[in-house]
Subunit: 451 residues, 2 copies
């Protein structure tokens, strides 16, 4: 059967690219509220065409497209995706316009090609092949396709919590997936959490001349610098009392998987022109573990006073910083937020206001879960290379919601590669990997349905 399905996929690339072109030509920028409803409807139509029962469920933000088609076995696989995309700006850096999909040199270029419309269309491509050759799906498939992933999935938590029964399943395929820079398939099964805040200070109603106020007026920029300095010093130790209490070390199994990953030290140093890494770490397993199993406190932005060319002698009344804390199991954004407020107050920084800009919990799937083996074996059959199982990545996402409310293990599958430029101009996917991604998803459905 799988040979027939592969043949179907090989022969129908043009139709799938045609569908992807239609989907990517529909802008759907959540941050700009651009084309959201139209794109949700388009995705809904695409699912209906495959015999799915579709509902477009409104939320306080973008609607969520949920769809279900029964399959042969009593197993249910959930596919989590999102139809919203990052803003296309800066437009001038695109070689072809962001919402005018173009194929060049075996790659498909458009905003959303990699993140995440390519994976939606790729999974439908696999489903077409299965339905055409086999007449039914090997298992029940449920799609949950939200429209706010690029703005921190602001309403997904409530949505999943409120729809636990409807969304119930046995495993979930995450929106992401693909191969690393060497072409080897990767299986990402854990994400760190995040607590993103803005810290702001207003020390006076207006800026004042630095000659007038320098010796006697409180300065918002200084207050901010001192508050930030109290969070973390050059030793990189985060000073919030209790911050590390809940940190769970990686298991021996996870460490063993991390040890098998290629060492990225030289790549990072060359790509980013780094002299070295923090804490004197040189590379190898130590670098890999530090990169994803440690919580962080990162200043993402600073703004205050005069920022133009040359000099302006102003004492700023306002200053602010964007700060993200990446969290590891078992930290939670709510607790870190409380620890942050308590720390600032205790250190005398009750003038520093905290604005919570988004939080996600860390979550990971047991590498020994049978669904992981299924995804790995499926990949090795398609890509003919060993799979790198990555038990934890540095980024964050709403996967914890599915693990928390639906209790499902989560795997990854998709067509991304190191050239995909998700979030950047000239986002693209390889046509070859679009085919391979569909074959991978089809194999997962069969192996999972058989169980």
């Amino acid at each position: 059967m799988i040979k027939k399905i592969d043949a179907y996929i090989d022969e129908h690339l043009e139709e799938s690219i045609h569908e992807l072109t239609k989907l990517c030509a529909q802008p759907s920028v959540a941050a700009q509220n651009l084309g959201i409803d139209a794109c949700a409807n388009l995705v809904g139509e695409m699912l209906k065409k495959r015999g799915f029962m579709v509902e477009i469920v409104p939320t306080a933000g973008s609607p969520v497209v949920i769809a279900e088609r029964k399959g042969r076995s009593n197993k249910t696989l959930i596919s989590y995706n999102h139809y919203d995309v990052q803003p296309p700006e800066p437009l001038e850096l695109w070689e072809s316009p962001a919402f005018e999909p173009t194929v060049r040199n075996g790659r498909f270029y458009a905003r959303g090609a990699a993140d995440n419309k390519g994976n939606i269309v790729g999974r439908l491509y696999a489903i077409d092949a299965i339905l055409n050759e086999d007449g039914e799906l090997p298992c029940t498939v449920k799609f949950v396709i939200e429209g706010e992933e690029e703005i921190s999935s602001v309403h997904l938590h409530e949505f999943v919590k409120a729809n636990q029964e409807r969304l119930a399943g046995d495993a979930c395929v995450w929106e992401i997936g693909g191969v690393d820079f060497s072409g080897a398939p990767i299986q990402m099964i854990g994400l760190r959490g995040i607590c993103y805040v803005e810290l702001s200070v207003q020390s006076a109603s207006d800026d004042v001349h630095s000659g007038t106020g320098g010796s006697i007026f409180p300065n918002a920029a200084w207050r901010l610098v001192w508050a930030l300095n109290s969070l973390k010093g050059p030793d990189e130790h985060i000073q919030l009392p209790g911050f590390y209490d809940d940190v769970e070390a990686p298991t021996e199994k996870e460490k063993a998987l991390m040890a098998k990953l290629p060492d990225k030290a030289e790549y990072y140093k060359e790509r980013y022109n780094l002299k070295g890494f923090l804490k004197g770490i040189e590379g190898g397993l130590e670098l890999a573990l530090e990169a994803v199993y440690q919580p962080t406190c990162t200043i993402c932005g600073l703004t205050s006073g005069y920022q133009g060319l040359g000099s302006k002698t102003v004492l700023p009344a306002k200053a602010s910083a964007k700060v993200d804390f990446r969290l590891v199991p078992n930290q939670t954004p709510e607790k870190v937020l409380r620890q942050l407020r308590a720390h600032l107050d205790a250190e005398g920084f009750d003038d520093v206001m905290i604005t919570f800009l988004g939080g996600e919990e860390p979550a990971k799937t047991d590498p020994d879960d049978p669904i992981v083996r299924i995804a790995v074996e499926a990949a090795e059959d398609v890509y003919e290379q060993p799979t790198q199982v990555i038990p934890m990545i540095g980024g964050s996402g709403p996967n914890f919601i599915f693990q928390k409310y639906l209790g499902v293990p989560i795997i990854s599958s998709g067509s991304g590669d190191s050239e995909s430029r998700a979030h950047a101009p000239n986002e693209s996917i390889s046509l070859d990997l679009h085919i391979k991604g569909a074959k991978h998803f089809a194999r997962i459905l069969y192996a999972f349905g058989k169980k």
Copy 2:
């Protein structure tokens, strides 16, 4: 004689406003290199009309207008002014356009009205009166009118140093002057110095996703925060080794003058919505002395990474801060710059680059100098109120250049008041104070010439 001169001034306001209109209608924005040469020529013509020998001397930047007219006595009074102005932006906040002078409710509105074209025209107004009624000046008058005051007088130092003989004189009237918010004349005879720097860090070639780099990549914003924190902590003590070594305390005479100034504590608190001042100072002489006789380290601006709305999970490769140090006698910007570099290196911040954006030395005139008495008595005759002699103000300027190379005491005279909005939209002078400023300058020339 002075009565006749006062009468001339009273009767010729219209002509002086006409001349000021012409001068303010000529843009001369040094920062934007707009109208500089045309304005220098216009000022030169205005001086020639009064029988001055004029030379417009090129520099590597804006030309300097120098002018001289011999007088009755062998004394020479220098008038330092500048014909350049601050940029007019933000344009939308002007009630009438910045370069279309307008009189409303007894005030003359235009960019440069107060700073410093009003004082140039006001001094010529006095000279017209004297020449008309008396036929000659009571002393020799030399004008030095530069075109780069608003961009830190970048070439004035070299210019004065190279022209010491030509510019020689016995005293100097500074560009500024006028009355305080109560209408009492003020005599400002000292200015703090300044050392303005940009501190910048580049930690990598490019920004990176904070999920990737947060635990392992150096972060330019953190490096900057820690470097700034090493300069000064919440106790406000500046940590550069040796920084306070050269600080000279105010003399008893200066303290006595400071004690006579009105207490600005309540005004500052209300105007700027301050809860209090630094170091727990409440007001009075303590606040007045702290405000101007202490050196400072002020963050004027901070910039790094993402500064827009909401969140972006980026780890910034670049960060920078604008920092000014206000200096008191006998500190120098050169020495502070050396101390700053040495301090950053010693604290492990050799990755923090220092860009020197301008420096001026502190300088003060002895309050007992006879020229100060002349200016005070002249003011009391014109304004019919006691003069506040301010031995030191918080701001900075190139006065030290004249004291250093020409050895002259420096006083102030002009038409500014608390409504003048120098550097801001709707800059203006009061027509009444324009008249009084001219009368004040005329009296200074007579009293000084007699000596």
